[in-house]
């Protein structure tokens, strides 16, 4: 790790000010990717702006039609939340299967989606549940948020403040974890929300994506059998020492069926 300054702003505005005044500032929102990167000396920010002391960014609230989760809410808090468990159990399940207990106790939803790791779980939830991302500047629709490998629609000085998840009538998440890291080799969120069916895939491609053929098939018949014979193309999928693109493509189908079967 190289030396850096640590700042602990008490509000989002102060965090933005700190970011703007820093030579090369980085937001710290749990640090489950950033800190290992720093330890390996793969990044050398001048300042870490820790969002951990901004009370407004934490917490889970039932907004009637949706659940709003503060950006600095940890995975463990989402997994353990009675509100989430009762209203969107698939989301609680997803959060409860991220990484390991240490990661779940430190990592946050805002940090995860802003980082947009292709193998992270939350992007599947954001896309599949058609969430809205709230920032200090605007709201961003799920379909517009993830733009590529580790890339999002966020501006440099834009901070995620919360994520709102509409309550689905049915949703299910299943993932095939990387046995070493427990990241998603493939993770699939299926959901029916307000009459719309969504199938969102993480882990398989450079960025989370929706599987439109599966959405159409499930739209008429929300059952695992409706997916028989459907397959995503392996052409644009990831390939590494853990899984080839072909295998990932196959797993998308398997996990989608299992997610449908698990949906509640």
């Amino acid at each position: 790790m190289y030396a850096f300054n640590v700042r602990k702003p008490g509000s989002v505005d102060l965090a933005v000010a700190a970011l703007e005044s820093a030579e090369d500032g980085k937001l710290l929102a749990g640090g489950q990717t950033l800190l290992p990167t720093l330890k390996q000396r793969l990044a050398s920010p001048s300042d870490l702006i820790d969002l951990g002391e901004i009370a407004d960014l934490k917490g889970i609230s039932d907004e009637g039609g949706s659940i709003k989760i503060g950006a600095m809410t940890t995975h463990a808090d989402v997994a353990g939340s009675d509100v989430v468990k009762s209203q969107i159990p698939a989301l609680a399940y997803l959060a409860g299967h991220i990484g390991d207990p240490q990661v779940r106790n430190r990592g946050t939803i805002g940090g995860s989606i802003a980082n947009a790791d292709p193998a992270a779980d939350y992007p599947a939830a954001v896309l599949g549940l058609n969430a809205t991302v709230h920032t200090n500047q605007r709201t961003i629709a799920a379909d517009d948020f993830f733009t590529g490998l580790f890339e999002t629609a966020l501006n440099d000085d834009e901070i995620v403040t919360a994520v709102s998840f509409p309550k689905p009538s049915k949703a299910g998440y299943q993932k095939f974890p990387n046995p070493a890291s427990r990241y998603a080799v493939v993770g699939v969120m299926v959901a029916e929300t307000g009459g719309e069916t969504r199938v969102a895939v993480t882990g398989a491609g450079p960025s989370a994506f929706r599987w439109s053929e599966a959405e159409s098939a499930l739209g008429g018949n929300f059952s695992a059998d409706a997916l028989n014979g459907l397959a995503v193309s392996a052409a644009d999928l990831n390939s590494d020492i853990h899984a080839s693109a072909d295998y990932r493509a196959h797993l998308v189908g398997v996990m989608a069926k299992r997610a449908v079967a698990a949906a509640s």
Binding site: R41, P179, A180, I241, H242
Partner: protein, 789 residues
């Protein structure tokens, strides 16, 4: 039985300090004025070093010294050695190549040691290391084991043609070829034994210290064998005469073989300490462990097993290519030869065995002994080919094995591969394993799995290992550079405290408990009053260290022999005090008694008399109570066992779940069943890890791809079932304790049991590790070929 003596499931004495974080590991030790070292490692698998510019690093804040290969040469220190000479088929010596402490003009694997920066703080040393400018001339790397000895490959060591360290053989090739030619059936397999990274919980670390007045070094290090470290560094690397080098291995957090060897970092901490006149500490991080701890396994093998018409094994022929990595590590040469080919008889009466081994260099981390060392490779090969043979012959895999077992009445049994098994009862072990596993009802369990959409398989593995390493004359005749005896000293204090000084080293094995139990058994001393001292060459008698499941079978026997000497001396004193003849004194349960009377003296009274000899006539005995013993075993010990694994495979994903592992071992006499169980659990986890999850992967250019826990998959608690463990016992015949050793069994026996179970489930064989994708692909291929038929 004495209280807490042999056989008692005593909780480990050392656990309180380990579990509460109060252990003293090398990194916990801080010496006055200590500076910190960080190593510059090669980012290239194969490159010349055209120059090293140290200037910017030397000028960096806090940097005290930048050490390169030139400094090592200037000090007159030699290179790291291989301590076991293996001969080629034609009788010529192997080609070991040079292994400089710091690179001399060339690097040979990613992670190879190029330079060391010493600074006031660890961070400053690390910062300084980034400023060392090394002018590399990248060369094409030779990373693939299969190709390494083919003509035209890059030469890794100029004096080692075709990257071949040796072409070695054991057995009568002509006789084996003839037997295979006349066999009714020949089963053939091609196998890969995957490379694994040891991953001890504590990374390696060292502190070098130099006393200029005494011209003497002290090295604190994470070693399994501090005396061997001193011997090698002194006699071969020329660091200092033995009396000017003290090696201390304090608490060590796991070794699994990787901490046997002498590494560059230890040597350089000493050199740096002398250079700057201050202690120098290096603590490896996890990335460095992946890049520089000696790796394990890494064989590719073709084997053929011949059988007669009744399924009796007639001959086994094996050709193995073994990866040595970029340099020949301390015991690397003996692992795929004398610890491998000699075990190819397994539990069976195969009359003819021939094994040829080609050891080759590649541009990868050096490979050396890892838990089991050669014996897991032999077991994996043998138990795979026998399972394959049973498949091909349509035989029950347990029955085919049993038919070929060495029979209980045939012990001692001379194998065709140079070993003599002293005892064993393989039939009894198999019977017990079949009973514990409820083999008779496997079909119903398979049906239950199928009803859930899962494929269930069962796999067997009947292993034998040669432990208690080893008779010195035998290993000497095979090329070892040292004897492999062990030593011990028992020293009582005035007040009856018993200090046991051992040349072995405990890094997770529980010696402080087990050796105390030996004292409780032999001398009746409560284990609370026994202090086991190890890991310091200035305090303990010379010993060869801990590896190869030898500490109890060799080191423990030395302790028991020293205890016998205590009893003999005590009898002389007791006889005098009791006014009886020495011949009439019996020692039992901690008391010396005149036979047939109630007149006795407790051991404590006799010890006090020995130290305060007010009533002992001159010349009867020397004062004090301290005895030592050296013990050189007469043979290896031969633990054996049958492991049965049941797996469930998810056909949709290929995921293998281990449902059951039954491990039945014959460890001979067991001193502490709790510790034995723990050792078996740990070994099983490591063996299952190799079979299902662990894989060290290099790309074709020689870069290590699986260099962190994000990519290298250690087995986790939820990958493992509750183990079902049982034992049988045929005591070792050639040590008085009757013990055999248990440290490696789990890692030796489990991989083939798991892999045979996977093969049984999916109907085809895959290589280790049986990852989900591999298994899924095998299932897809079977479907395709079935459709084609």
């Amino acid at each position: 039985m004495a209280e807490n003596g042999i056989g008692a499931p005593v909780r480990r004495k050392e656990d309180k300090r380990f579990i509460t974080g109060k252990g003293t590991y090398t990194d916990d030790i801080n010496r006055p004025g200590q500076a910190y070292a960080y190593f510059v490692r090669s980012p290239y698998p194969h490159a010349t070093i055209n120059g090293i510019d140290k200037a910017a690093a030397e000028a960096a804040p806090g940097v005290l010294a930048v050490i390169t290969g030139d400094d090592v040469a200037e000090a007159g220190w030699g290179g790291l050695i291989c301590g076991w000479m293996v001969k080629n088929k034609d009788g010529s010596d192997m080609r070991a190549g040079n292994h400089p402490v710091l690179a001399q003009g060339k690097v040979r694997y990613v992670g190879d040691h190029v330079a060391c920066v010493v600074a006031e703080t660890y961070a400053q040393a690390k910062d300084g290391a980034e400023l060392v400018e090394v002018d590399y001339g990248p060369l094409i790397a030779c990373a693939a084991l299969a190709d390494a000895d083919r003509p035209g490959q890059p030469q890794i060591h100029d004096d080692v043609p075709n990257n071949t360290v040796y072409n070695w053989e054991l057995g009568d090739q002509a006789a084996v070829d003839q037997a295979l030619a006349s066999a009714a059936h020949v089963t053939k397999v091609d196998l890969t034994n995957n490379r694994v990274v040891p991953n001890a919980m504590e990374p390696r670390a060292a502190i070098g210290e130099y006393d200029s007045a005494q011209e003497a070094f002290t090295l604190y290090t994470t070693s399994q064998n501090p005396h061997v470290a001193r011997l090698v560094m002194s006699a071969f690397i020329q660091v200092a005469p033995e009396h000017k080098l003290r090696v201390i291995a304090p608490d060590v957090g796991g070794g699994f073989g990787s901490k046997i060897y002498i590494y560059s970092e230890e040597c350089i901490c000493l050199l740096a300490a002398r250079k700057i006149g201050r202690p120098v500490k290096w603590t490896g991080d996890r990335s460095e462990a992946f890049l520089s701890d000696a790796h394990g396994r890494d064989h590719i093998t073709h084997a053929e097993l011949g059988m007669d018409a009744d399924g009796n094994f007639t001959a086994l022929k094996v050709h193995t290519k073994a990866n040595m990595g970029g340099y020949l590590s301390l015991f690397a040469s003996c692992v795929p030869t004398y610890l491998y080919a000699t075990l190819l008889a397994g539990q069976y009466r195969t009359p003819q065995i021939y094994c040829a081994v080609d050891a080759v260099f590649t541009n990868t981390v050096p490979v050396d002994a890892y838990r089991g060392a050669g014996r897991p490779e032999a077991t994996y090969l043998l138990e795979t080919i026998i399972d394959q043979a049973a498949d091909e012959l349509g035989r029950d895999p347990a029955d085919l094995r049993r038919q070929n077992f060495i029979k209980p009445e045939q012990f001692p049994y001379d194998t065709p591969v140079a070993l003599t098994y002293d005892t064993g009862n393989f039939h009894a072990v198999l019977d017990k394993a079949l009973e514990v596993s409820d083999y008779a009802n496997f079909a119903s369990r398979r049906a239950a799995s199928e009803a859930k959409g899962k494929l269930r398989g069962i796999g067997f593995s009947c292993y034998i290992e040669a432990c208690g390493i080893a008779p010195s004359a035998v290993v000497g005749s095979l090329g070892a550079g040292v004897g492999l005896w062990e030593s011990a000293k028992i020293r009582f204090t005035h007040t009856g405290v018993c200090q046991v000084l051992t040349g072995t080293h405990s890094h997770g094995q529980g010696h402080e408990t087990v050796f105390a139990q030996l004292i409780a058994e032999k001398l009746g001393v409560p284990i609370e009053n026994v202090e086991v001292i190890h890991g310091d060459t200035d305090k303990t008698p010379v010993g060869m260290g801990t590896y190869g499941s030898r500490s109890l079978a060799v080191g423990g026997q030395a302790i028991a022999n020293a205890a016998d000497k205590i009893i003999e001396k005590g009898k002389k004193i007791a006889a005098h005090l009791l006014e009886a003849s020495e011949a009439d004194i019996e020692f039992k349960d901690g008391s010396f008694t005149v036979a047939g009377t109630d007149r006795s003296k407790a051991l404590g009274e006799v010890i006090f008399e020995a130290y305060v000899p007010h009533h002992i006539p001159q010349g009867l005995v020397e004062p004090g109570m301290e005895e030592g013993a050296f013990y050189d075993p007469a043979n290896f010990t031969y633990p054996s066992g049958t492991y049965i694994c049941e797996v469930e495979v998810d056909p949709d994903t290929g995921v293998v779940s281990i449902d059951r592992v039954v491990a039945v071992d014959d460890f001979g006499v067991i001193v502490n069943p709790l510790i034995v169980e723990g050792q078996v659990h740990g070994g099983l986890a490591q063996g299952i890890g190799q079979a299902l999850t662990e894989n060290c992967v290099y790309d074709s250019a020689g870069q290590l791809l699986s260099a962190s826990y994000m990519d290298y998959c250690m087995p986790k608690a939820d990958d493992l079932p509750t183990f079902e463990i049982a034992t049988t016992s045929t005591p070792c015949s050639h040590n008085a304790l009757g013990v055999k050793g248990c440290g490696e069994a789990g890692a030796i026996g489990s991989p083939p049991a798991v892999m045979n179970a996977v093969a049984d489930a999916i109907g085809t064989r895959v290589s280790m590790p049986a990852t989900a994708e591999k298994v899924w692909r095998a299932l897809q291929a079977s479907k395709t070929s079935q459709a084609a038929e």
